[in-house]
């Protein structure tokens, strides 16, 4: 186990996940749901929170089980833990948010293979104490949700002229149907990643 002095504190971990090491924008992990559910803000928020819940629970259990993990079996153990909680989320959505569950469809079970969750179990939870790994899960989860919301804002405003179903564009705004479809998702995400690189570079140049 890593000793305490070399380990970043829980607070640093939490903040790291949100912007400096944002899983989607910086590390480009877990982008399949990122592109699929961001046609609307509602879908993005639901997916973000669902993934955060799964990430929190899986980090919790992986961190507790870290002593018993065998190197060659660990990925399998991670996946089973994750699949269990994804099944819970799936059942919850089917029971209480049926329409949303229909809209997201198979993308909810696909959280099982979301690289962010396995990556955090591998890189953080299986190596650190309980509290830092929970903070890490919350930070990464919120960072994921934030990135989804940024992308969904761009797409929903351009595609429908609305934001969370509230009209925001002027009267007679021509909606960009393409933003709702697959090409729009790739394009918007490519531009957001590029813009993020640009902002970071400008910030670093100002610092030095």
């Amino acid at each position: 186990m890593a000793d305490k002095s070399s380990e970043p504190s829980s607070l640093v971990r939490f903040i790291n996940g949100i912007l400096p090491e944002n899983p989607v924008l910086r590390l480009v992990l877990g982008i399949c749901p990122t592109l699929a559910v961001t046609a609307s803000m509602e879908g993005a928020i639901t997916m973000g929170l669902a993934a955060t819940f799964v990430l929190f629970c899986s980090n919790f259990f992986v961190s507790l089980l870290k002593r018993f993990l065998q190197p060659h079996l660990r990925i399998l153990v991670f996946t089973i833990i994750i699949a269990t909680f994804v099944t819970i989320v799936d059942m919850f959505l089917k029971a209480f948010m049926y329409d949303m569950s229909r809209t997201l469809g198979p993308y909810i079970p696909l959280i099982i293979v979301n690289c962010i969750i396995i990556a955090r179990a591998e890189a953080c939870a299986s190596k650190s104490r309980l509290l830092p790994s929970l903070a890490d899960a919350l930070g990464m989860g919120l960072g994921f949700t934030l990135a989804l919301c940024i992308l969904a804002s761009v797409r929903e405003i351009l595609a429908d002229g609305t934001w969370l179903n509230i009209p925001v564009m002027w009267e007679g705004f021509t909606t960009w149907t393409i933003m709702k479809l697959a090409p729009g998702a790739f394009l918007a995400f490519g531009l957001v990643v590029g813009a993020n690189n640009f902002i970071r570079r400008k910030l670093e140049e100002r610092k030095s």
Partner: protein, 213 residues
Amino acid sequence: MTVELLLILLTAVLINNPVLYYFLGLCPYLGVSNKVDMAFGMGMAVTFVMTVAASMTWAINNLVIFYLSTSSIAIDLGFLRYIIFIFVIAGTVQLVEMFLRKFFPHLYDRFGIFLPLITTNCAILGCCLWIDVKGFNLVAGEQGVAVSWKFAQALLFGIGNGLGFTLAICLMAGIRERLRFSDVPRDFRGVAITLIVAAILAMAFMGFSGIGG
């Protein structure tokens, strides 16, 4: 009947391409698409795993889970579905890994970490899940549909998805080999430009959407 099967294959490859329409398997799509030969090898490995996984999960889903829930015992094991799916996929990937290490060690070395990561390739789990959405599973109370016919549809869907993934990743690798010599704005190098190229590819693939009718 043959036409219908051909249509399932064509739809999966061109119209509802797993990468460019459903956004599945994007991690290897961005990670392994630097060289055409590697992309092709990856595509073939994914196609194999997908075909095996699609047929096995179909069999478990319909011949075990569905059978148990409609038989006189009436046990619904549906909640175990996702865990079983991921087990089957992980097992198949292990098989492919052993096979490649024994017979194609050169390819095995070059795949590196991306080979075990096929397990977490969303395209494969996605394919198994979409079989249900597309209606290739047995449904309670449905009459006059042969089990083998449903299975053939699911199998073709699996092969089609694998080929669709191969096509998309090879196209992208071809473009990226050229892209290396072009003058891309600094902030857009790497992932950003790849995504924008994917957007243009997806737009081109939208042109196929008339074929399926």
